[in-house]
Subunit: 266 residues, 2 copies
Amino acid sequence: MKTFEEMAGLSPSGAREVIRRKEWTGPTAGLAQGYVQANLVVLPRDWAFDLLLFCQRNPRPCPVLDVTEPGYPTPRGIARGADIRTDLPKYRVYRDGVLEDEPLDVTDIWRDDLVGFLLGCSFTFERALVEAGVPVRHIEMGVNVPMYITNIPCRAAGRLSGPMVVSMRPVPAGLVSKAVTTTSLFPAVHGAPVHAGDPQGIGIADLSRPDFGDPVEVRDGEVPLFWACGVTPQAALMASRPPFAITHSPGYMFIGDKKDSEYSVF
Amino acid sequence: MKTFEEMAGLSPSGAREVIRRKEWTGPTAGLAQGYVQANLVVLPRDWAFDLLLFCQRNPRPCPVLDVTEPGYPTPRGIARGADIRTDLPKYRVYRDGVLEDEPLDVTDIWRDDLVGFLLGCSFTFERALVEAGVPVRHIEMGVNVPMYITNIPCRAAGRLSGPMVVSMRPVPAGLVSKAVTTTSLFPAVHGAPVHAGDPQGIGIADLSRPDFGDPVEVRDGEVPLFWACGVTPQAALMASRPPFAITHSPGYMFIGDKKDSEYSVF
């Protein structure tokens, strides 16, 4: 096994190579620093139009970075030479919307009709937040970001529908504007918050009990900011129950060849 | 027939109503001022995934504002109550990639398998340019913007491929940065220029002979700026020859209910 420090300094293709050999089976946060990471959703061709349209209609939670050709496992737009069947440390396999397995490799269940979607991840704008002087609590605490199912409906597309999932980061009141403008400049990876303060207003009863990830402390003088989250399409898939689907395991992302900075407006 | 001044002050639904009654059959630039206008491409369901994927892979020239349900003519995301079969002043009908007709209404040739794509239009950022103090030559001259077929390849998607088409606006050298930053803030409607100066570098031999639209003067001290253009998907359709397609006639756009300002990052 490699160490985190070794993995952090690798190129994207180098990190993927290590993961492919299963010499790294942990979460990917901080690996190949400065390069984009992506959520993965794989569906049969028959469902691909529904998901692509769902993403187009809900671009804040579902920013599409790349889509593979049916049966072909390389997302050529963001990583030539990559293989989405082997290059993530951990996968989730769903049948009829039910989680069935969490393998380290999905080559043996790959099919010729499968289409892979690579969707933007907040890791990209979190780096920009830190560089802009906005503290990111869950990074400081070394835990996963807290995520909540809201009462904000997504626009349906074909057989797919569901509520928006958001991630939450508490920000000091004086830095709220900085957090908004900084993430606004990354419209291709969730962009600005969809909601600021007032968790009840979007159907969140208790911030200390997230639906996914880990709770974080919200201190006096801090405002909880809510960003659209890439878990949204997975929630829609689980609700809509396609016969077969593969996703990444939360936190175990795909590493692409593009730099985070390429997704900024400026 | 209504006058331009009457049309400019109407709401989007009011302008569409007049157009639907064919009491306005001219170009739409300046109508329902402040509201978004869109390019239209209509294709059979069988081709819709290819086009949606082509747009996802080429977001600068092909920014998708809305997609209709198969057979259903209302783009609910940007204009509830609208009808894309009647609400544009002029259409183009293609069979096997060949322009066959240019009717004022397409209700009689509508089919249950047709899907409509509404794509962003540079009218949205031109208003922002003028407000930022950047002169827009073709508006000053009262002509259509000049457009050119480049040697920049689009990423292919399924059966669709083709070169990027760009629009050109000459900008005084001291205002180039202002033009870039202003249009950067509209990533959903073409965003910043894809090329500045050096027309030969993208395969444009003679600026005075555009492939579409009208030529405009480029004065001493001005730099030609090139933006990705919404004619790109039409060029790909003509090259790829789907059996049936409907588009707007250039300049005769769809008027949506969203404000131009809603497409700005800030």
